[in-house]
Each structure stands twice: as C-alpha cells, then as structure tokens.
Amino acid sequence: MSHANYGIAKHRFDTLVIGAGGGGLRAALQLAQAEATVAVVSKVFPTRSHTVAAQGGMNAALANVSPDNWHWHMYDTVKGSDYLGDQDAIEYMCRAASRLVIELEHMGVPFSRLDNGKIYQRPFGGQSQNFGGAQAARTCAAADRTGHAILHSLYQQNIRAKTHFFDEFFAVDLLLDDEGYVLGALVLEIETGEPLIIEAKTTLLATGGVGQLFRTNTNAAINTGDGMGMALRAGIPVQDMEFFQFHPTGIAGKGMLMSEGARGEGGYLINKDGERFMERYAPQAKDLASRDVVSRAIATEVREGRGCGEKGDYVLLKLDHLDPEVIMKRLPGIRDMAMTFAHVDPIDKPIPVFPTAHYTMGGIPTDRFGQVVVPVNQGAAEPVPGLYAVGECACVSVHGANRLGGNSLLDIVVFGRAAGNKITEYLGESRYHRPMGRQYVDKALGHLARWDKRGKGESVGALRDALQRTMEHYCGVFRIENVLAEGLAKVLEIEKRLEDVRLQDHSKIFNTARIEALELENLVSLAVATVTSALARQESRGAHTRIDYPDRDDERWLKHTLFYREGRRLDYKPVTTKPLTVDSFPPKPRVY
C-alpha cells in the first residue's frame, strides 16, 4: 500500500474483481491459476453474496437422467430467450456447461446423487429433448441449495489459491483516463469510512443484478445494480433493461422464492377452483413452461377473478400430493422457508404464490469473452480497454428476453472463467499500469463528497420506498404505453428528488446509511434506464409484455436496446443470430 496520491491509500494489482458472487469468484480463481495478482472487492463477506440464495440448480446436458446433449440445451435457451439471445454466446455456454459442472464437482460442490453415484438432475422450465420434444431433466442440483453449495466451494477454492480479498469494501466509481482506458476503481472501506484507490490493468465487474428496483422481489437487499450504475456514470450504456424476469412463484406478498425445482419435482399450480390452469396456457409443458409464460398465466388468472384468498390475489403451488420424503430430501430449504414466511408446511398444504421480481436479463453489454463492448461512432461494437463484466450485471446476451431457470448459475461460471482467460491474455500484452492522473480520481471523490452535505432533506429510505412502489406499479408484468409514460415521469421526478436527499448520519465508522445512499443513486439511474427502454419497445417479447402491442415484432424489434445516461439516449444493435459452428435457430412462434 502506498500514499502517493494525495493522502488516499492506493493498492495496485493486475486485476481488480468487483463482486464476490459466483461470477467474480470463478474469474478470480482462473486468474489466480494464471498467477496474476488479483484483488476481489465485495461489499459483503463473499459467502453472503446473492449467489448463495440460488436454489434449484444449474443446467448442463450431462444426460444423467434423460437423454440430452448441448445442442438441445442451446435450442431451448434460444427459444426461451424469445430469440433475443446471441446465438454465438449461447452455443459457447451450452457447449461448456458439462465441463464446468464436472469441474465444480471436482472442487467439492456437494451435488445430490443418483443411485449410480452420478450427479442428480431435475427437470426445470423450458427444457426439452430433441428440439422441443419431451421434457428433459437438465438441472444439476444440490438439494435446493445449489447456489449455497457452489458459492461456498468457489470461495473455499479461492482461500486455497490465496486470493486477496477486500471484504466489506464498497466500489463507488470506475476510474477512467482521457483515452477511455479503465484504470481501476475508487472504493470505500465500510468499516473505517476511508476511500482508497485500487489501480489495476484490468477491472472486472461482477456485481450482480438489480432486483431491488421492485418492492416485492426475491433478491437480497444488496442487489442494487451498483456495477451497472458505475458503468452508466462512466458513459457506458446498459443493454436490454426492459427485460426483467418476474419469477412465477414468490411467496405471495413477501417475495421469498419457491424454486422452479418445486414444480420440477412434480408440484403444480392451481387457481381458486382447484383447476390446474397451466394446462390451458401450455398444453405440453404445463407448469414447466418458460417463466414469462407461467408468470403471465398467473397474473391473468388473478386479473380474471380466479385468484385464491380473500382478495383473490394469488394462486397456490401444490406439493402436498408428493411423497413427503421427496420434499424433505430434495426441497428442504423451500419447506423451511414456506413454514417460516407463509406458515404452511408444503407437505400438508399448498403455498400461496405470485409472480415476483427476480432476475435482470439486461446489463452491461459484453461479448462472449466478458469484454465490455460499446458501439463506436454508429459502427461495430468495440471493447472498452481494461473493462470486463460477467454474471447478472452483464448482458452477453445468453438470456435475451427471458432467462431459463438454471441458466444463470451456468452463465456466471462459464463467463467468469472465460473472462479470466481473456484478462490473462490482455495482461500478457500489457506489462505496465497506465498513469493514474489526479483528475480521474477527483471526479469520483466529488461524487462521494456529495453525501457530506448537511441539512434537512428527504431520507434515503423514504425515496427508495417511493422508487420501488413506482416501478412495481408502472413497470410490472403487464405494460402499456400511457402507464409507462406516467411511470417515466415519476422516476424522473424521483431522480430530481434525489438531489435533495440528505444524510443525517455523517460518521465514518461502518456508516451503512452512506452505503444505502450510494446504492440508491444506482437504483434510480437503473430505474430510468428500465422504464425508458420499456416505453420505447413497442412489441411483446419474453418478459416484456405490452398490452398495446401483444405480438412479437421481429421485423422492427429483433434487436438489443442500448440506454445511455447522457440525454437518456437509446440506441440499438443487432442480435447475433449466427452461432459458432451449428446452424442458426431462426425465430419461430413460441409455444410450450
């Protein structure tokens, strides 16, 4: 550590990884093996990262349970994405999947097992054999704690690799030089309140999603989209933000996730008449249709008066017909959570559920090597030198307009590893750190200093509540022009109000109020991005359902949205429909 830069501590590494979820940790491991010096910064102790909450599992065509191959997995992913996914990246991911699951198993992940000793796989939504045929069982699971199992194993492997961790450090802003090279980041040590500079030849954003945009969500409080916010402030766009996944089965009114694995193990949904209504919406796949399809079906049941309960505002997830042994062995975490938060034991009674904000399909635009890429002067996309992104904060895009369950845990390890490799390559060509000018740091320090202003003003908590309610009301499962337009006006007003927010707590030591303020800034900028992108897209595709434009419109809208902060500018870029080696899957009507 040195203090060369005007009193602020400075650290220097080859690579700075921001985020210690599955994406960041997998990349860090790859880099450690390449003997690069790596700093991993995380605002929470690594195993508290949100990957820990993933339940159902991770997809790979191991064919341990049903016949399977990566090409079928690829087809399902392209179809699931409503054809907005980039097929080169999807092919890459699905081909790599088996190898990466095996690698995780070798690292110690305690996958559940089949009688023959192989990894247990369960059916998940949107999975088929033979390009749309019978249901496949492709999701590798450690009971219903797969994320926990994977995150802990990856952290443990990083302990073994002696990765350098900065636990409970909050990344405030990227540091860029005049030529647009990313030189590292300004971070805040939460315990002491001291800012410090981490200089790095390469910086990887792995900061996760932004589920806190919505009031009822399945996400942890820390999922505030900080990496995307940092990118936006650095002039980098975010891609496809209008595609936000609502998971069909969050505990009604509360949001805790009841994994798709519950339906994979044989559970199904019923309305107030006890009807298994998914049979009407998806005759073949039924309860295991894609998430967007099931969420819309539930919302429709409720809107049309077939919801359950006094207010008719939820449906029921039925598991009580299953062997209790299956529930206790395969879904112990779900059962615990249902008992704690919904006060029902799923062995005896069905669980009240409703679609709940869950997953950010959009994010920082990258290629399949994890390089952040931005179109230059209306031309082709080019890498932002020194900057990489993986995981839920990135948009490769392998999930397109709708992510398949089990593909995100896969995404984070596949592209965490790929980014690690690409960074290693870059480090081989870039021997020295570029000079860190004072002016680059000053901008970020100015941003931080904004929160030192004293006096009366609105509170962070109140404005965050207002934002989350606005997003839920104006930008939920069903969308329509006039409501979105009103929503945009509201979030812009919130953006204005943000200027008048003041902290009451100005202490340095473990000031969580300051952290929440910095997070709120990120949330607000992403709310603006999301509503603006949603208002512009005049079609229904995947998770983006426009009542006024009920059909998918490939002619006009088979393209990715890019939102820039400056002037709230929108731009578009083509979808990569050409895979790496196989034939393209052209858009087709999507039925399940």
Binding site: H50, V52, R145, H152, Q156, A220, T340, F341
Partner: protein, 231 residues
C-alpha cells in the same frame, strides 16, 4: 412494541449503552429484521448487517433476548418485550450491532475448508453414492453466521486457540466427504489440548444454530476419528 438496543459509535460514544425505542406500527408476521429496518428509517445512525432477508446468507446473527439468532427469521411475535437486541457476544464491537468477525473467519480458513484430492481427477464426476452424500447433510448447509461460536464459553475463553464449533463443523464436513483424501492431515492439525479438545460439550452451539445443525455432534465424530486414527 418496545425495544432495548445496544448502541455504540466509537466516534461519539465513550461507552456502549442500551437505547430504549418504540415501534408503533407492527404488522403481523413482522420479523425482527423488518423492525430494525423500520427503526433505521427513523434513526439512520442505527447500524447492523443484513442482506438476503430469508436466513440463507448469514449476515445478521445477533443476540436477541439473550439468545443468538438471525434477525430475519426471528418473528417479533416470538419475543418478550422489551426486546433486547445486542451484538454477538465475545466479539469486538465495531459499531452498534456490528461485530468484528476476523477471528471467526481466521479459524474457518485455518481448517483448510476445501476438498483435497491427491489422485488424478477422473474425466467425469467423482462417483458418490446417495448414502455417502447423505453424510454431508447437516454439515454443508452452514452459512457461517457465527451464532454458534459466539455462544460458546470455550470460544470466549480461548478465542485464539480453540477453533470453535463453526470451524470444526466445517472440518468434519470435509472429513466426512468420501471424495476427500486429506483425512490424516486434517486430523493431525486438530491434535493438541486446544484446537478441538477445548469443546466441553456445553451444547450451546447446537441449541442456537438457525439452520438446525449440530456442531457438537460433528466434534464428537472428529474425536472418534482421531481415536481410530491414533490406534
């Protein structure tokens, strides 16, 4: 509802104190974490850790009415008033309810908490029967919340020497894994009067673990293995 909350900000307070506060709007079903977050809306200086809100990340272990537990899965309705909320016992307090867990994590790292395999790895997965895999249940689910170790008198008295229930549970998680090949080294590293043998089966750990895990039992299993190993 009345609360009595441990407050300490080293920048402004000479000594810690208990602050009495009241929350009037209590929703049915509210968890302690919900209440703390409501209180923070009125007084943003109140500091505590939390994240997932559903008992899986292990951020928010606190001492609640004298017992360690996670605030996010502790219903207010289960608590007698005034609800006493304190930081985890025996750990240095950074501020309010936030403690320094460095020592706790150090013990975790010291037990080599990763699978160690000496043989070349197979092309496919290691095979493990469902019965072998079942041995890991009750072990791998640990969320490192620290509730157990900080409820353990042996840990309070020998924080640097005794590994503590959480780390030992993890040690057994690898000893019990049919894939791991470092049994002898792991056991050897736990020999001596302190690291393992300071456990006096007081059982506080198993009683407070919010995931229903039983570190005492795991410690007993390690002792058995050690005995077998020595013979």
């Amino acid at each position: 509802m009345r609360f009595s909350i441990y407050r300490y900000n080293p920048e402004t307070d000479k000594a810690p104190y208990m602050q009495d506060v009241e929350l009037t709007e209590i929703r049915p079903d509210m968890m302690l974490l919900d209440a703390l977050r409501e209180l923070k809306k009125n007084d943003e200086t109140l500091s505590f850790r939390f994240s997932c809100g559903e008992g899986v990340c292990g951020s928010d272990a606190l001492n609640i009415n004298g017992r360690n537990g996670l605030s996010c899965i502790t219903p207010l309705s289960s608590l007698a008033e005034p609800i006493q909320v304190r930081p985890l016992p025996g750990m240095p307090v950074i501020r309010d309810l936030v403690v320094d867990l460095t020592q706790f994590y150090k013990h975790y790292r010291s037990i080599e908490p990763y699978l160690i395999v000496h043989d070349p790895v197979p092309e496919e997965e290691f095979l493990q029967t469902p019965e072998q895999r079942e041995k890991l249940d009750g072990l791998y689910e640990c969320i490192l919340c620290g509730a157990c170790s900080t409820a353990c008198p042996s840990f309070w008295w020998n924080p640097e020497l005794f590994r503590g229930p959480a780390a030992l549970l993890q040690s057994y998680r690898f000893l019990a894994d049919s894939r791991d090949q470092a049994t002898a080294d792991r056991l050897q590293a736990l020999e001596g009067p302190y690291r393992l043998f300071r456990c006096h089966t007081i059982m506080n750990c198993a009683e407070v673990c919010p995931k229903g895990l039983n570190p005492t039992r795991a410690i007993g299993e390690i002792k058995k293995l050690l005995l077998k190993h020595i013979i």
